[in-house]
């Protein structure tokens, strides 16, 4: 599997889009830092961007990479390789290269600005960790969609729809439900609902880490009580891991049954 991973990784590292993605983060990092002039404020702004952009890029790259590397995949399928090896190798290769673009693109400006001297290093680290999680999650979801749709346009459409649902529509529905059931105790409900959307979960994790949860009022206090503890952290990361493992497992399952 390592060989496939390596090939996918280097294949992507040489493609123009990885650089575009890297340069985008580089630029974003520098601009935010020099406009805000404050690491912690920059991190908050960055959070809002990362939580939306990372899943979007993961989705688009995941779907494009699968469709573009179909020839490569077919070539590999005729070689003495397990299907699991081929598909997981490609999945991990893609996710790692995107994560690296994120890490380097944001890491460099923050290092230049003096991240290590500031107390924000852990907040920055958790931002990157969440970004990496989101990359792995959305690449896996996109590859699942690509595997089930031969038609590229359809696949692309579905993938964007999934991203839109998770990033925007889900929150809308969530808010509507909170308004509708205003008379009932909703703490547990909202806690559970936020678990089912990796974007929401990531946002909450970072917000609580940044100690601005006081702004969130009562719900924030409740969330803090839950997520602030080690147990809450553990549960959240466990759920995020499930968001990676389950789609990745479905990739394997689907690829075993697909014709090429």
């Amino acid at each position: 599997m390592f060989k496939i991973l390596k090939y996918s990784f280097f294949d992507l590292m040489r493609s123009r889009w990885s650089y575009v993605y890297f340069l985008f983060y580089l630029l974003l990092g520098f601009v935010l830092l020099f406009l805000n002039n404050d690491v912690s404020k920059a991190i908050i702004t960055l959070l809002n961007i990362i939580i939306v952009i990372v899943p979007l890029i993961g989705t688009i790259f995941g779907i494009m990479y699968y469709y573009n590397s179909r020839e490569f995949t077919e070539l590999l399928l005729a070689q003495p390789l397990k299907r699991t090896t081929i598909f997981l190798g490609q999945y991990i290769g893609l996710s790692v290269s995107l994560s690296l673009s994120l890490l380097l693109g944001l890491g460099i400006p923050f290092l230049v600005y003096g991240l290590f001297e500031s107390s924000e290093i852990w907040n920055f680290a958790s931002l990157i960790i969440v970004g990496v999680f989101l990359t792995f999650i959305f690449v896996a979801l996109a590859m699942n969609i690509a595997l089930s749709n031969e038609n590229r346009i359809k696949g692309f459409g579905y993938a964007i729809l999934v991203w839109l649902f998770m990033a925007v529509i889900y929150d809308g529905l969530f808010l509507i439900s909170l308004m509708l059931f205003n008379d009932y105790p909703l703490d547990k409900f909202s806690l559970i609902i936020s678990m089912f959307n990796p974007i929401d979960l990531s946002r909450i994790l970072i917000l609580l880490k940044l100690d601005i949860s006081a702004l969130l009022g009562y719900t924030g206090a409740l969330f803090n009580k839950f997520f602030g503890t080690n147990w809450g952290m553990f549960i959240s990361f466990f759920v995020l891991s499930c968001w990676i493992v389950i789609p990745a497992w479905i990739i394997v399952y689907k690829s075993m049954r697909k014709d090429f």
Partner: protein, 235 residues
């Protein structure tokens, strides 16, 4: 040796293979013929494990290939359409496949034979159809494997390369290998095949030598014999 029993395959509602029973003996050149869409490529891809049959079994050297992968160590495959990862150069692609299979190769001789040296550092997307096919052939012939599966090997080749290809196929045959070929060029098939199987509509219409096929259809020419079968069956 390949043994196929009751092989069925459908793509959505289209039934492509309808109960194929076939035995391919070790050694010799075996041609799979049939009109467009008769299931030739599907049959080949089932043997390679790229297409998963709906039912039926395929045995290679008495092992069921279902969900196996290491049997492909002994198979070289030349796909019909030479689709390669576009942003690799020729030499990178060859090295990659060598690295993946970890078997001794004679790629240098083959590159020499097909005069591919000037193209080695070119990207695959910039190659002409014929040159791509030559790269395809190098990839398929560079390993020493028991079995070769060639799907339309003549596509896009100039006459000189075609002669070289025929020679290579004969050489491999002399080494006692099993070679499975599909082709629409009947003169090519007539020249090299020891045995043919004719697929029609997902079934085996005929299996035997070319001489048998000719006598059965009372034709002196393979092309006419095949055309006769096709018009008879309103294809």
């Amino acid at each position: 040796m390949i043994e196929i029993t009751n092989l069925y395959k459908n793509f959505a509602k289209v039934e492509v293979l309808k109960g194929i029973n076939l035995e391919i003996k070790k050694g010799g050149i075996f041609a799979i013929l049939g009109p467009n869409g008769s299931g030739k490529t599907t049959l080949i891809k089932s043997i390679l494990g790229m297409v998963i049959p709906r039912s039926g079994e395929i045995f290679i050297n008495s092992t069921n290939i279902h969900n196996k992968w290491d049997y492909r160590k002994n198979i070289n495959y030349l796909p019909q359409i030479a689709n390669f990862p576009n942003n690799l150069s020729v030499i990178e692609l060859i090295d990659m496949i060598k690295n993946l299979r970890e078997k001794p190769t004679n790629d240098i001789e083959l590159i020499e034979l097909f005069a591919l040296k000037p193209f080695l550092d070119k990207k695959l997307r910039n190659l002409s159809g014929g040159t791509r096919q030559k790269v395809n052939i190098v990839l398929a012939f560079m390993f020493d494997s028991e079995m070769l599966i060639l799907d339309e090997p003549t596509t896009g080749l100039d006459p000189v390369s075609l002669i070289k290809l025929k020679k290579m196929i004969q050489l491999e045959k002399e080494k006692g290998k099993t070679i499975i070929i599909t082709s629409h060029i009947m003169s090519f098939v007539e020249e090299i095949a020891d045995e043919v199987v004719f697929l029609l509509d997902g079934n085996i219409y005929f299996k035997g030598t070319i001489a048998q096929l000719k006598s059965q259809t009372q034709q002196t020419n393979l092309e006419l014999a095949i055309a006769g079968i096709l018009t008879e069956n309103n294809v």
